[in-house]
């Protein structure tokens, strides 16, 4: 595993997502409040493309009839069978310990750090004035 540059920060506004390819794998990057989370673009159920799913909010409940709406906890709903996955961890909402989608660490670095550092010479063109998203995949 190694970090790879996949996008410019400006490519993915807050609340948006972008599909990228990292070493032959499709990965979907989410910008959640300025933080970036990366999931394999493949639902562990039957392989639905998560990048086409609805990004929604996790609803929990302390008891029947009570709905707790967690605006800060987003889930991606697979477009095929609506299974929900926490975009931070890839864990399914229904059976988090048994069913999860592969998640990857992300990092944001300034172009100046990248040009000097070990990430130079990737196929992704880097400019010193921009910030970049890296995925450890």
């Amino acid at each position: 595993m190694a970090f790879e540059i996949v996008a410019q920060v400006s490519d993915i506004p807050v609340g948006q997502r972008k599909l990228v390819e990292v070493r032959g794998r499709e990965v979907v990057i989410f910008n959640h409040g300025g933080q970036f989370f990366a999931l394999l673009n493949r639902c562990p159920h039957q392989g639905g493309r998560l990048c086409d799913g609805k990004l929604t909010v996790a609803v929990t409940s302390s008891e029947p009839g009570h709905y707790d709406y967690h605006a800060d906890r987003q889930v991606i709903r697979c477009p095929w069978h609506a299974w929900e996955f926490d975009i931070r961890t890839g864990k399914s909402w229904c059976e988090p310990d048994r069913v999860k989608v592969r998640s990857y660490r992300t990092e944001v670095l300034a172009g100046t750090q990248l040009v000097r550092g070990e990430y130079t010479a990737q196929t992704f063109p880097v400019k010193t004035e921009n910030d970049y998203i890296l995925v450890d995949a």
């Binding site: 159920h45 929604t56 609803v59 929990t60 409940s61 302390s62 008891e63 029947p64 009839g65 009570h66 709905y67 707790d68 069978h81 609506a82 299974w83 929900e84 399914s92 909402w93 229904c94 059976e95």
Partner: protein, 354 residues
């Protein structure tokens, strides 16, 4: 032979011979109304007395009618199968009355009749508390009234009443049951407020009886989805005379679609099949399997849990001939659990010294 295990019969049916038997237990107004109004009785058409299912021919006294006496039951099952304890589920139609006052009075009368006619004369007898689901609050009061008699080991509800049983209007019943450590038994049958099949009123009795499994599916889906087991985590629900083999495919389906729709019922945080394993038990009479051992063994493998099945004769209903009270193909371990371990774990009151 099952008698070697001294089985616990978790579903048999004391029959109220006629409404005259209940009159001594009715409040004065309702006792008088039986004559004034010419009330003939509340025998439910769920089990028409002459229907072949309603009693085995060799159990009908003199070949006709229903066996109504404790002596009949002793001779046919209690002594014959060497039953350790038997749980009497009286299906008399307190749930049928459109007047909830009359329903409540009938339920209380049935419970008092049960004490005098079955529990006091026969130390092996236990019983379910009959309630009128027409008024859940007063049903809860009836549970409070009867529960101090530790020979009442369960609360009894019909499989079809005014509304799905998971809905909050019924929660006073579950609250009272949990408070007294009583499981709630849901028995085949209907208040006949709705058609007994989801597609409308059927023409024939066989359709009514065979479709009962659909009612149990509806109730199981309701209990789980409405969050009854979240609110009452110590509650056990026993499905009585529901059959067995319908259960697993329905739970597969419920669990599968819950994964995609769970945000609608966010309190359901565990797969429904796991909730059922923890909270649902079934009497294994009828079993609803073909008569071959390999199929039965396969069905047992599919069941969510090994502790879910309870032995029952379903007396006097005609579910088996001779002494063949168990379906073929059950292994000895399963039979032992059904006959003893599972009933004892389900009905904690059974083991109490009285």
């Amino acid at each position: 032979m099952i008698s070697a295990l001294r089985p616990i019969d978790c579903d048999m049916h004391p029959v109220v011979p006629n409404i005259r038997a209940l009159v001594p237990y009715l409040p004065a107004n309702w006792a008088a109304s039986v004559d004034d109004r010419g009330i003939e009785g509340f025998d439910s058409i769920s089990y028409p007395p002459n229907a072949p299912l309603s009693a085995r021919p060799d159990w009908r006294p003199g070949g006709k009618g229903l066996p109504v006496s404790l002596d009949d039951y002793r001779r046919h099952v209690l002594d014959r199968l060497d039953v350790q304890w038997a749980i009497g589920n009286c299906l008399y139609g307190a749930h049928l009355a459109f007047s909830e006052d009359l329903g409540v009075a009938l339920a209380s009368a049935v419970n008092d009749w049960m004490v005098d006619t079955w529990l006091d004369p026969e130390p092996r007898m236990r019983a379910s508390i009959v309630v009128a689901p027409q008024n859940p609050q007063r049903a809860a009061e009836e549970i409070d009234r009867c529960a101090p008699d530790r020979r009442f080991v369960q609360v009894l509800l019909p499989a079809m009443v005014e509304a799905p049983l998971g809905q909050r209007r019924y929660w006073p019943i579950y609250e009272a049951a949990q408070k007294h450590g009583l499981p709630v038994g849901i028995h085949a049958g209907s208040s006949y407020r709705h058609a007994v099949t989801p597609v409308g009123w059927p023409t024939y009795f066989v359709e009514d009886y065979a479709s009962q499994a659909l009612a149990f599916q509806g109730q199981l889906g309701s209990l789980i989805s409405e969050g009854v087991f979240n609110k009452f985590p110590a509650l056990t629900v026993v499905l009585l005379e529901s059959g067995v083999t319908w259960l697993t495919p329905f739970l597969w389906r419920l669990t599968k679609f819950w994964r995609g729709t769970r945000s609608e019922v966010p309190w359901v945080t565990k797969p429904p099949i796991d909730i059922a394993r923890e909270h649902i038990r079934l009497s294994a009479q009828p079993f609803d399997a073909p008569d071959d051992a390999a199929t039965v063994a396969r069905i047992l493998e599919h069941l969510p849990g090994k502790d879910m099945l309870l032995f029952a004769s379903d007396y006097p209903h005609h579910q088996f001939d001779g002494d063949a009270v168990l379906p073929q193909g059950l292994d000895q371990e399963t039979i032992r659990r059904m006959a003893q371990d599972n009933p004892r774990a389900t009905y904690r009151r059974l083991e109490e010294a009285l």
